[in-house]
């Protein structure tokens, strides 16, 4: 499903503040598996997730997702992949302020322009599944951390992507909400999706849903199981 060959990522190349975030990563993530990327802060977890998800391009190396080489795809096709192949859940949720929960959830589907009724039904089903129906019209800045996280999950799922990428999804949640989130992620895996999560939360690593652990340090994979 996801393969990386000798992937490097350098920020500010050639400048005094040059930063080697990822160095020679080789990785194979089979479909329908739950993978955890772990490691200390600054180890390159988030950078690796954004590389896999096509949010940034590698400085060197190849990344193939669902038989398409995302590292060299033209911008237009890369955007299509972000829309249909990946569902992102960001550490800071990255919801659009001033909009309602429902509007935020429907946003990724706008460029696909499905019939409005169908999109509304899909969004409402997701909101019901994640216990957000009562908050559908609330502005996202009024949500609790757990509600915002679930809204971000709904948004990630609106286009029914086969890959879910979550960056430190429990970082802003208490333990109870973190457990709740892991249950939801387990359900997503059970539906046949590939789930890639970065975390340094032991509660996430120790979850029975996890199939693989990949440990990063200084941009390199130092351990994987």
């Amino acid at each position: 499903m996801i393969r990386l060959w000798d992937v490097h990522k350098t920020f500010h190349a050639g400048q005094v503040n040059e930063l080697w975030a990822i160095r020679g990563v080789e990785l194979h993530l089979p479909p329908r598996q739950f993978t955890i990327l772990r490691g200390p802060s600054g180890s390159g977890k988030t950078t690796l997730l954004t590389l896999i998800g096509g949010l940034i391009r590698p400085s060197r190396g190849r990344i193939v997702v669902a038989d398409r080489q995302v590292s060299s795809l033209p911008e237009r096709f890369l955007t299509q992949m972000r829309r249909t192949t990946f569902g992102f859940v960001f550490q800071q949720f990255n919801l659009i302020r001033g909009l309602s929960v429902l509007d935020n959830v429907m946003l990724p589907a706008y460029p696909l322009a499905p019939p409005h009724r169908e999109l509304m039904d899909r969004a409402h089903r997701l909101l019901a599944r994640f216990s957000l129906t009562a908050r559908a019209n609330a502005r996202v800045e009024w949500l609790s951390g757990g509600e915002a996280q679930r809204t971000a999950l709904c948004r990630a799922l609106i286009n029914d992507p086969p890959v879910i990428i979550a960056d430190e999804p429990t970082a802003n949640l208490d333990q109870a909400l973190s457990r709740e989130l892991m249950i939801l992620l387990r359900e997503l895996k059970a539906e046949g999706r590939t789930v890639v999560v970065s975390s340094h939360d032991p509660l996430v690593w120790e979850s029975s849903v996890v199939d693989r652990w990949v440990t990063l340090r200084d941009g390199r994979i130092v351990e994987q199981s």
Partner: protein, 374 residues
């Protein structure tokens, strides 16, 4: 882009505008005021030229003035009979007109004659009626050139199509005019010629110059041209002022647009990250710019229209009608030149929209993650 996709983008645009309504509203007001100023000058200039054209369409084909030492002088009656014989001239008529300063109200009147008026009767323009507070049947007391009291009974108020020209008119019979100004009986102010074939006007003017070398023939075309250039010049002053305003506005728009706020940049990054194409983001921002600029244009233009055609002419009236001593109540007929509206639309809407799009494009082509992190 499909219609459905466009509708979704438009929905998002409207939501986006509603989120920042305070900021958008203030921008809209400034923008609409600018359009109001620009459109006022344009509509007023158009209306004045249109008005002048209407008035001059009834003007004589050729006016003949006599010059003495480079200044206009009275025309002897004998010239009238000399010109009557010219081939192509169907009618020659002597005109009597002049100016009168009314010290009671400090205004200048244009005095003309009308043969249908009986001795002692007069007709006045609405401007004169207004400043002297007169109506039909009232007496207008003037002081003749020798210093005698000269009463005129108002029998008619002039209500022609163009108040701009007729407001300061005072009309009396020919005999009264000569007595009032002590005007020589054997002279006229100027002569007017009616010419059968309009193409012969220049030829006949040349014949007049040769026959009466101390005269100056003025054709209707020349009058129209000088009126038109007068209005264009006055309108030009307005444009120079307003171009400065436009440049100031564009600088502001560019300042605003070139520095997208961190929140706006983050939003564009999020949209790109969840699958919006660069074209979608640009389309949304284009729609946002168009909604603001077109709304401002509509409100500004409508306000200008109401001010010019249904109000008192707006701020620019004194500038554009500056030649009138007695300011008339000017109610020009609504007249719109499609070309000028299109020009105004392009001048006001296009630069703003482009100025807004450039920085958005710069952000939208960057990696979404880089943009989100700022």
């Amino acid at each position: 882009m499909t219609m459905a996709r466009f509708r979704y983008l438009l929905d998002y645009t409207l939501l986006s505008l509603a989120r920042r309504w305070g900021r958008q509203l203030s921008l809209l007001i400034v923008y609409a005021l600018l359009v109001l100023l620009l459109a006022s000058v344009m509509l007023l200039g158009q209306a004045l030229r249109w008005e002048a054209g209407l008035v001059l369409s009834a003007a004589p084909d050729l006016v003949v003035q006599r010059l003495m030492a480079g200044r206009q002088d009275l025309v002897p009656n004998a010239y009238l009979s000399q010109l009557t014989g010219l081939r192509g001239v169907t009618q020659v008529r002597g005109r009597l007109w002049g100016y009168y300063y009314d010290s009671a109200v400090g205004a200048n009147y244009t005095v003309m004659t009308d043969s249908s008026l009986s001795s002692g009767d007069g007709a006045i323009g609405t401007g004169v009626a207004r400043v002297r507070q007169l109506g039909v049947g009232d007496w207008l007391g003037l002081q003749s050139s020798p210093g005698h009291v000269f009463p005129l009974r108002i029998t008619r108020l002039l209500e022609p199509n163009s108040e701009l020209v007729s407001a300061d008119l005072l009309v009396m019979g020919e005999e009264d005019f000569r007595r009032f100004f002590t005007f020589p009986r054997d002279s006229y102010t100027d002569l007017v010629l009616t010419i059968a074939n309009p193409r012969e006007v220049a030829t006949i003017a040349e014949k007049v110059r040769r026959l009466l070398p101390d005269t100056r023939p003025i054709s209707k075309t020349e009058l129209l041209r000088s009126y038109d250039s007068l209005f264009t010049w006055r309108e030009g002053i307005g444009w120079i002022i307003l171009v400065s305003v436009v440049l100031a506005f564009l600088t502001l728009a560019w300042e605003r647009a070139s520095g997208l706020s961190a929140e706006e940049q983050r939003e564009i990054g999020i949209l790109k990250a969840i699958g919006w194409e660069t074209g979608d983001v640009l389309g949304m921002k284009l729609a946002e710019g168009l909604v603001i600029s077109l709304t401002a244009f509509l409100f500004g233009y409508l306000a200008a229209w109401l001010t010019i055609f249904h109000g008192d002419g707006g701020l620019f009236m004194p500038l554009l009608k500056g030649w009138a001593v007695l300011y008339p109540h000017f109610h020009p007929l609504p007249h719109v030149d499609g070309g000028e509206v299109a020009t105004l639309l392009v001048v006001t809407v296009f630069p703003y929209t482009i100025a807004t799009l450039v920085p958005v494009w710069r952000v939208a082509i960057a990696d979404p993650d880089t943009v989100m992190r700022g």
